[in-house]
Amino acid sequence: MATSRSERASGPLFKRILVANRGEIAVRVMRACRELGIESVAVYSEPDRGALHVRQADHAYPIGPARAAESYLRIDKLIAAAKESGAEAVHPGYGFLSERAAFAQACADAGLVFIGPSARAITAMGDKVEARRLMRKAGVPVVPGSDDALGSDAEVEKVASEMGFPLMLKAAGGGGGKGMRLVESADKLKSALRAARSEARSAFGDDRVYVEKAIVRPRHIEVQVLGDTHGHVVHLYERECSIQRRHQKVIEESPSTAIDQKTREEMGRVAVAAARAVDYVGAGTIEFLVDQERRFYFLEMNTRIQVEHPITEAVTGVDLVKAQIEIAAGWALGFAQEDIVQRGWAIECRIYAEDPENGFLPAPGRIVVLRVPSGIGIRDDSGVYEGFEVSINYDPILSKLVAWGSNRDEAIDRMLRALGEYVIVGPTANIAFHRWALGHPAFRAGDIDTGFIARHFKPGALAEGTEADLPLIGAALAAMARAATVASANGARPPVPPRSRWRELARREALRE
């Protein structure tokens, strides 16, 4: 059985933590802090003065203008704010500086505890070619491909002809889908290589690429791990993140329908071995590609908390952010591998300010109406509120909606119900898209892979099922209400006589009340 808190406390937790992030993940971390009796320190850029994470925090420090490069990415300003606030530790969240070894090192140099792995582990996993080499040495299966980053085109062509097509070109300097190209056949190699190199150069300042065998219709399945400073490493089973657009996840679930119990245990064992290979401390995620024959291959390790961590929390009952903080304070994990069980099914829908009917392009703006679902089995981790201006400067994520059910069907039905309750007016949000995806027969059947959206989502798919008159009726009633408000504010004698009949009519309506 799991050990109690008092038994494993090897010292006090922190008194104060600086959260070097914004939006929903900053709010999430501050909630964990409050539950642990730790004060939180927010940092904010100029337009974020009124942001939710600043309202949630116990203390807050300005760190510069809107541009992330001049605020949330400025290591010097963050360290200065941490020192001035008296924080003892820094939580990086995800994105921004969370996977920059230099930030972890700067914290250590300033006598601050970085809530995450060592700078050395971040560096090892950040170099994609180096990570592949390390993993292979640790007995972790990697996608067949070149061992080294390839500088010259001739080398790429040689490796490609030996390996055969289709294949993937990937940037050696970083991930996230940048500098990545699928090459179907030999005649397409030259132009794909040119494009991949140019993208890699502008994204990472490094145009070296490596070659991997292309996995046909892959599923993206990752394993959550936790390691402490006492040598314990456990996994918390898998999350499937195959529903992606532009190589970015939008819907995740745990467990995965793709793997059986034997594969699940094997992936967990391999993930722990991968983490051990870099002496991993904290929360991390080993990402795998799984092919149609359930063979799995190491993709990369994310050395931070993931966006989709709540679904693991929902099925295992472990608070991952609290675990991160306790581990950083030197506590031992409060449970062993056999204590961790998956219970039920959880799904996460990322609620983005983006327009699925317009190429999933960002659609920022002020949130005029916000109604958030609740009820049994629903969790909404939000970074916004009604009246908040969703800025063009940052990631368009608004919140993460998580549904838990005793089985997959119940989780899907519950999520559909919650999405139906979710109202966001102002920025265009992707709620209708999620309803479409979860309502798709292929999703219900678990027949998904990373090509799901490209294969099934067609323009106009969201138009089905809405009663065509309702938007018109809504707009008409709003226009009447607005006219009535204008008329009553102007009193019985409007200064400029509004000659349009509807306005006059509305005024009379208002006066009668």
Binding site: A363, D395, L419, V423, I473, A476, L477, W502, R512
Partner: protein
């Protein structure tokens, strides 16, 4: 019951146009005719911009935001954008329609990262005019018609608001 004449609007939804007639019947009830099809709607504003609707006892909820004659209506998780013109606005709009396609306006707030054409340049329909960055994504704005660029109103680095005039093509 009042005997006032109903309010009339022209609704523009994408390419489609609908004739709308709204007559308040009192007690939150309205007779609404859409292209002549009549429905009796019981509508209550339950929060700023949110309306609970009962139509033949069928319940629905819509949330609305508006700016000028532009309306955003959320129904079932989907945001519908439409314009609602009263009769005067409709006349103005007709007169302006000829010019509409000549103006290139920003669809969302963002920052101009590149201007691809200069005043005087001949452009084809769909040809890229400028690139606007919003939320770390770059979007190319294409010419709405073929013609000559008569002016470019923005410079790289400049922030733009939705609806702001970016360029004109004559």
């Amino acid at each position: 019951m009042s005997s006032t004449r109903p309010a009339r609007f022209t609704a523009l939804v994408g390419e489609a146009t609908h004739a709308l007639e709204v007559e308040p019947l009192g007690e939150g009830r309205y007779r609404i005719a859409i292209d002549g099809r009549e429905r009796i709607v019981d509508g209550r504003e339950t929060g700023a911009g949110t309306f609970s609707l009962l139509i033949d006892h069928a319940a629905a909820e819509v949330s609305v935001a508006s700016r000028g004659d532009e309306f955003q209506v959320a129904v079932g998780g989907r945001t519908h954008r439409l314009r609602l013109l009263d009769e005067r606005a409709r006349r103005r709009q007709r007169a302006a329609a000829v010019d509409g396609a000549r103006e290139v306006r920003a669809a969302m707030p963002g920052k101009v990262v590149a201007v691809l054409v200069e005043a005087g340049a001949r452009v084809e329909r769909g040809q890229g005019l400028l690139v606007i960055e919003a939320m770390k994504m770059e979007n190319e704005i294409g010419a709405p018609r073929a013609g000559t660029v008569s002016e470019v109103r923005v410079k790289p680095g400049q922030a733009v608001e939705p609806g702001e005039l970016l360029a004109r093509i004559d």
